[in-house]
Amino acid sequence: MKRLASHVVALTLLAPPVLAQEDLTVGFAIAKSGWMEAYDTPAATAAMIRIEEINAAGGLLGRQIKVVEADTRTDRAESAKAGLDVLDQGAEMMVVSCDYDFGAPAALVAEGEGMNSFFLCAEDVKAGIQGVGPNSFSSSVLAPVQGATMAEWAHAKREARTAYVLEDTFIEYNKGICTGFNWMFPQLDGAQIVGSDTFKNDDASIASQITRIKELPEQPDVIMLCSFMPGAAAAVRQLRAAGINSLILNGSAVDGSYWLEATPDLSGFVVPVQGSIYGDDPRPEVEAFNKAYEAKTGSRPASQYAYPGYVLIDLWAKAVERAGTVEGAAVTAELEKMRDEPTAFGPRTFTSELHHQNTALMQIIEITGGKPARVDEWRISQPVPLDVLMKK
């Protein structure tokens, strides 16, 4: 501790002459290698797009935003080091890896400095006050909200009355989706969960689980599949091959058309997303972003997980403007005043209890004949309560 203190003293002594006051530094402690890179890069690119927009419009508090980076290598221990690294490079706000497990070590470094941290796209309630501390945020939509959105939408728009829940127990995100669905669906008029089962993302076969569904006296109206890639694609392929034709509901994690080859001519597959990547979002800002992303990277976003990166910089910059400083506690106070703050991807709210979205306007994407298209939008009638979010 003493050593750390002396480092901090050394840094504060060194910092003023090195750092010119003009630039405002944002540190990205994210995966630039390893398997997580595929998820972090799109959101980080989106964040850069917003930063460039802000810089082009004159910067933040009159200062240009400068970006420094460090690689977590998809490794929890390296994540903490990456956090320290961007701190050494003068970061005044930290953007950390998408996933809670890989982002939290870096976020804790930021928290220790009283600095704001934003997860690129974490959807677990722990990625905020509950797991990291009072200055940590995520701009994505909590996993249970995605599950609850699917429950209420399918009930209202597709007359779903019986549901079967198939949960992949591999990561917390999946459990969150099922938690939200299991909370919402039984509350709805005449709706009933007729069965549930579990599998693991890397199971070589889910034949036993399929046998159990086929043994039901009647096929369920919907199957809530709480999983992510690659297990989700494998499960869908096996379900459809076995002749189970129920509507399959999912979380946002399976958004994107890149995996659809796994089940040729897939139909009756629904995903809730923050914005449509398919060019059919009714909000022109979303398509404008898709075009900006394509101009920057050469291809359109592969899934909706680019969007939270754009939103987080947008919200943080607004809070900084209002607070007149980048100091963590002051910016946090401004962020916590946001109630349905408009963004390109729908309104966002932060409170002193929750630095996440416990309700959100979601676009409904349905895949028909192997083609994804936006068919509807939905916002759940009541926010997911904190005790449901916490007792996973």
Binding site: A38, S196, A207, T211, A234, R237, Q238, Y258
Partner: protein
Amino acid sequence: MSLQLLFDALALGGIYAIAALGIALIFGVMRLVNFAHGQFIACAVFALIVPSTDALAVLGLGALPAPVLVPLILLIGAGLAVAAEALVFRPMRNASPVALMVGSFALGVALQNLLLVLYGGRPKAVSLWAELGQPVQVATASVPLLQLIVIAAVAVILAGLALMLRKSRLGLEMRAAAEDFTMARMLGVRSNRVISGAFALSGALAAVVALVLVAQTGVADVRMGGQIMLVAFIATVVGGMGSLSGGVAAGLGIGAASALLQAGLPADARPFRDAFLYGGVILVLLFRPQGLFAPVGAKPRV
């Protein structure tokens, strides 16, 4: 036990049995637990698609007709394993088993990172033989065609391998080498030939697992061989290190037990299926630490 359950159990057990055989073959001839076997599987899967880090996968070899594709992928698997032997394990021939094992870990990590560089970290869709998923009615059970093919292929591969080990010269040499490698060499068995042969077979078996996995799941992921490799390794331990038939039997047993647990456990206990499964493995090892079918040669002799 319903017929349906029997098919589910056999299909999963069959995949594990083939993977376990791939590990047991190499352990038999050079006392190496090849932890890169999972990456051999992943490499054989990725060989089907054109290298690119784009999200959308384009079928390369995978677009070839099955009669060309299957032998080609088996050859690629075998070639990769033989190359790994020549470049990594041959220079380490006289190293301790622990050093060999660490070497195989390193090879696995290197292969995985190679795949990450070539293909990116995002899982890819591979639509290989989607029509094999169609269910076929067998008496009271509705079984995907692929499951029947897997079960038949496992039977054919096991029979073929047993025949090869009993009747061919390479098989005789392999059995002799597995029994006592030094003695076999003294009697004129060429070690390089036997070891390369074992690696080639093992690599081809990894490719079989890869094809079955892809046809079943429709996805390619850099981490996909890991779980199978783990189960296969456990199967070779339970079966008795160095015993080929033991590894196969234990692989089948673990797969079948996994399917039975999934079907039989109450809903609340099902998320802990693997805990029950490996609890069973521990029980077996408590009573037979040398494995169920330990070969005589595996016992230390004074």
